[in-house]
C-alpha cells in the first residue's frame, strides 16, 4: 500500500510528533505508516484522511495505483 501521509504532512509544515498528537497515536506509529511498514486500521485510516481533509481512497491506495495520484 502507498500513502500520502508524509507528503501531506510536509506540505502543511507539520512535524511527525504534531500529527501523532492530533491522531492520538505515537510518533513511532506515524513514522511506520509513512515508511509503509505499518498499515493502519480502518478507523485510524479514516482519522488520518479526515485530519488532512482528503478522501481515504486518495490518502491510501494499492502500490500499483499510487495513492493520491
Amino acid at each position: 500500500m502507498r500513502n500520502q501521509v508524509r507528503e501531506q504532512r510536509t506540505q502543511r509544515g507539520l512535524s511527525q510528533a504534531e500529527v501523532a498528537a492530533a491522531l492520538g497515536v505515537s510518533r513511532q506509529t506515524v513514522i511506520s505508516i509513512e515508511n509503509g511498514r505499518y498499515l493502519p486500521s480502518l478507523p485510524l485510516a479514516f482519522r488520518i484522511a479526515r485530519f488532512f481533509g482528503m478522501p481515504v481512497e486518495k490518502m491510501f491506495g494499492p502500490d500499483g495505483e499510487g495513492a493520491g495520484r
Binding site: 492520538g24 497515536v25 505515537s26 506509529t29 493502519p40
Partner: protein, 152 residues
C-alpha cells in the same frame, strides 16, 4: 480494574502485587530462612517495578507498552510478541517432555502440564475471539446460488 491507577504506575503496580503474593507464599511456607527469601523477592520485585517505571518514561515502543499508553500498532507488536512467547513455551515444553519420556525421567509431568495449558489457552482464545464472528451467511439463499468455478 486498574483504571484508577495512573497509566505509568499500572505495570509496576502489577509487579508489586505479584511480588507480594509470592512473598506471602514464602511466609506461609515458613522454614529457617523464610525472611531471606521474602527479602530477595521484595528486592527483585521492587527493582523490576522501578525498572518498568523508568522504562515507561522512554519515548519508544517499549516505553509506551511499559507505560500502558500503547496505540494500535504497539498493541499489535505486543500481541505478536506474546504469540511468539507462546510458541517458544509450547516448543520448549514439547522438547522437555520428549526428553523426559526418552530417558524415563520422573519430571515429565511439569512439561505435560505446560503443554496442556498452552494448548487449552489457544483453544480458549479461539473460542473467545471467534464467537462474535460466527453467524449465518446472508447470501445463503439457494435460488440464486451459482457453483464456485473449479479450476483444475
Amino acid at each position: 480494574m486498574m483504571s484508577f491507577i495512573r497509566p505509568r504506575w499500572r505495570k509496576p503496580a502489577w509487579i508489586v502485587l505479584a511480588g507480594t503474593v509470592f512473598a506471602a507464599a514464602w511466609v506461609i511456607r515458613g522454614g529457617p530462612y523464610w525472611w531471606l527469601w521474602v527479602s530477595l523477592v521484595a528486592i527483585v520485585a521492587a527493582g523490576r517495578a522501578f525498572a518498568l517505571y523508568m522504562w515507561a518514561g522512554e519515548d519508544d515502543d517499549v516505553g509506551a507498552l511499559a507505560g500502558s499508553r500503547a496505540d494500535e500498532r504497539q498493541k499489535l507488536l505486543s500481541l505478536r510478541s506474546r504469540a511468539l512467547a507462546f510458541n517458544v513455551t509450547a516448543l520448549a515444553a514439547f522438547a522437555g517432555l520428549t526428553v523426559a519420556v526418552a530417558i524415563r525421567a520422573g519430571w515429565w509431568w511439569p512439561f505435560a502440564v505446560i503443554l496442556g495449558v498452552t494448548g487449552l489457552g489457544y483453544l480458549l482464545g479461539l473460542a473467545a475471539c471467534s464467537i462474535a464472528e460466527e453467524g449465518p451467511a446472508d447470501d445463503a439463499s439457494t435460488e440464486h446460488q451459482t457453483p464456485f468455478p473449479i479450476s483444475s
